[in-house]
């Protein structure tokens, strides 16, 4: 693990074998939080598997799994405050879940329905997934600017991948965050691959964290497979943001154990050895071992947790599968605040057409 200039030095608390690397921070005495980490990561791993299965059986659109990267989203989700705004990319299921986005809503999004972005409760102000790579970082800088302008003690936390760091939308808002001392936290999920492009072909910077120097802000790496390390780093950065001390870039080093998406076949461009090696570092097992050693976890607990998660997931899948398609009218109702005349005409045509298509389906031609 490499560093860049920062007062922050805690890049890891739990090593790959699940052993603590002292000293541990006080907050790690909160076992309920540690168990919440574990539950979330377990749930997400099972959820991911289920969604991929749905896709393979034609019940789901293209899906981006977060296999192997659950620690990052979990750590962020548990660190964010209610008043903060989360700006995801598209591998942030764990954070979204912890922010209160229902699993069935995530299914709805990946299933091709705009209502999947209609978050409520704690996530009501969070941004939806962002497909155009890195653009969400600029939005986060705007959100952080709004907080600064209004003098609110809130932070915008935004995520992106390692590939995203090659885009102007990574540098421009980070530079602004430096000049305007914005309450922004940028967490890079460095999973070593951007689809088929390995990290070394993305940049020759030794670390992604050092890119913070271009913006004159603080940046550092953490072990992205150690949920505690990521959590502590995010706590540090959020505290800094909330107290008006500016923005932070956190590079969470992990590995994409899954294909890029269900539309991808990673065997075309990377070999087994690399993936197998990465499996020895993965975050869920690591935390489990750690909890075991502390007597906080056992086989029975594991089994009931898995059963509980399965049930929650199946419930979400049922809800998703029962959803009728969005009425096509909404395509026109949410485009402008007041729908202009020509769209009202088109809305009628669209309704008739969808009726025709439904009829067509019914009569099977």
């Amino acid at each position: 693990m490499l560093y860049t200039q920062t007062p922050y030095q805690q890049h890891r608390f739990i090593d790959p074998d699940g052993n603590a690397t002292n000293p541990l921070p006080a907050w790690m005495n909160d076992t309920s939080l540690l168990l919440r980490f574990y539950r979330t990561m377990t749930l997400l791993r099972l959820f991911d598997k289920r969604v991929v299965a749905l896709q393979r059986t034609g019940q789901m659109g293209t899906y981006a799994s977060c296999l192997g990267q659950e620690a990052i989203g979990t750590a962020i989700g548990c660190a964010l405050q209610p008043q903060d705004v989360f700006v995801p990319y598209y591998r942030d299921q764990a954070t979204q879940y912890l922010r209160g986005v229902e699993l069935n809503r995530m299914l709805q999004y990946w299933g091709g329905d705009e209502w999947g972005n209609h978050f409520t409760g704690g996530a009501a102000q969070d941004f939806p997934n962002c497909v155009p790579i890195a653009t969400q970082i600029t939005h986060a800088a705007g959100i952080a600017s709004a907080f600064k302008i209004r003098g609110e003690k809130r932070a915008a936390l935004v995520t992106c991948g390692d590939g995203a760091t090659s885009r102007g939308d990574f540098y421009e808002p980070m530079n602004l965050a430096g000049v305007w001392q914005l309450p922004m936290v940028l967490v890079v999920n460095n999973n070593q691959w951007a689809i088929s492009v390995p990290r070394p072909l993305q940049t020759s910077a030794v670390t992604i964290a050092q890119k913070a120097m271009a913006a004159g802000i603080e940046g550092f790496q953490v072990d992205g497979n150690d949920v505690c390390a990521v959590h502590d780093a995010v706590l540090y950065a959020l505290k800094k943001a909330h107290s008006g001390k500016g923005a932070t870039l956190i590079e969470a080093v992990t590995y994409r154990l899954c294909d890029h998406t269900t539309a991808d076949d990673a065997t075309r461009y990377r070999d087994h050895q690399e993936v197998n090696a990465a499996w020895t570092l993965e975050p869920v097992k690591r935390l489990q071992t750690f909890l075991h050693q502390r007597g906080l976890w056992d086989e029975a607990k594991e089994q009931s947790l898995v059963a509980e998660c399965q049930a929650e997931i199946e419930q979400a899948v049922k809800t998703y599968q029962a959803l009728p398609p969005t009425p096509v009218d909404e395509l026109f109702d949410y485009l402008y605040d007041t729908t202009p005349p020509h769209l009202i005409v088109q809305r009628e045509r669209a309704k008739q057409k969808s009726a025709r298509l439904a009829g067509g389906k019914r009569h099977g031609h």
Binding site: P128, P132, T135, H139, G142, G168, P173, Y336, D337
Partner: protein, 346 residues
């Protein structure tokens, strides 16, 4: 470009008494509208390159920073994608950012944030988040400016569902339309014809009253031919109408003003009345706003068109460097000739 802000006008700074009237240029009207909006709504903020101390390279934001402070009038680093993208974030948080892009020719880096985000945020989130932002930028030629400073690519935005595109052609419309654009809950691209910035002065009442964004403005009634245009060409069209009057031709002149969505009803009603349609724009033809209007005539106007639709436009090339720009810009002669062609058609 040295004119000073008229914000020193006390009647304005103390927004108490009777709304003041001012005799202003178009760029001063833009300035007045922003000042009024900022005074009425604390959520309105202004951002862009050189909009602060310098008051904008055309002085559109002159005096705003002094009056409303640097938290509401922000000089950004030099990055258009950034300006548009942070405006999306600010707007989603309930601010009403009024961003300046220094020239339309520099907006292209911002297209991704406009098309993929600003235009879609409401729809993608089913109304959970929306984007009340305005991007102001000078457009068009005729000011002897360097290359890339004279673009007329309004069609690039007029074709995008989910945003509005508005072009004022007089100080009064600049004031009223910009106020409405800022109040509008959806993203608005507000294109200011730089050739008009200081062309005429007009008395306007700074009463904070906006003009509708969903209608054209019929500037001159007529019965023989309809001249449809927007922005700087409005003035050539009005002159052309006077020319035509000398020839006993009564030309109706319509300022489309809102290019997206377009008020088709007014346009169709006029052409139904006159039977003749001349569309005038600085932009090249392909897939332009003029194409869209002409195509609606082709769909709806076949029964009342007495002559083919005429388009008086820039050539299908980039606007030349300024030594030749006059040859490129539609002028009164071009418009009159086209109108006469529609009248002589049989």
């Amino acid at each position: 470009m040295g004119t000073n802000s008229i914000l020193n006008d006390s009647s304005l700074t103390t927004g108490q008494n009777e709304p003041a009237t001012h005799v202003v240029t178009l760029v001063e009207a833009v300035n007045l509208a922003m000042a009024r909006a900022m005074q009425n709504d604390a959520n309105v903020v202004v951002l862009g390159e050189d909009v602060g101390t310098n008051g904008g390279v055309f002085r559109a934001t002159s005096g705003l920073k002094e009056r409303f402070g640097c938290r509401r009038v922000m000089d950004t680093p030099l990055a258009e994608s950034l300006i548009a993208g942070i405006s999306v974030g600010m707007a989603a948080q309930g601010l009403k950012p009024v961003a300046e892009i220094q020239f339309l020719g520099f907006i292209y880096a911002a297209v991704e944030h406009i098309v993929s985000h600003a235009a879609r945020l409401r729809n993608r989130t089913r109304g959970r988040l929306h984007c009340p932002m305005v991007i102001r930028t000078p457009m068009g030629g005729g000011i002897h400016a360097p290359e890339h400073h004279c673009e007329s690519t309004e069609a690039m935005f007029a074709q995008i569902p989910g945003i509005r595109v508005v072009v004022p052609s007089s100080p009064a419309r600049a004031y009223g339309l910009l106020l409405s654009a800022i109040e509008d809950p959806d993203p608005v691209i507000f294109l200011e014809p730089s050739r008009l910035y200081r062309m005429v002065k007009q008395e306007i009442r700074d009463d904070g009253v906006g003009l509708p964004l969903d209608t054209c403005f019929t500037l001159r009634p007529g019965k023989d031919v309809t001249l449809i245009t927007w922005g700087a060409c409005v003035h050539e069209c009005l002159q052309a109408a006077r020319e035509l009057e000398k020839r006993k031709v009564s030309a109706e002149v319509i300022d489309v003003a809102s290019l997206n969505p377009i008020d088709y009803d007014t346009l169709l009603a006029s052409v139904e009345k006159t039977g003749r349609c001349v569309i005038v724009q600085e932009a090249p033809r392909p897939c332009s706003v003029g194409s869209e209007i002409a195509s609606v005539m082709a769909e709806k106007g076949l029964l009342f068109l007495k002559a083919p639709v005429e388009r008086v436009t820039g050539y299908d090339t980039p606007i030349p460097y300024f030594r030749n720009e006059q040859v490129y810009l539609p002028d009164v002669h071009d418009i009159v000739t086209a109108a006469v062609r529609t009248l002589e058609f049989a």
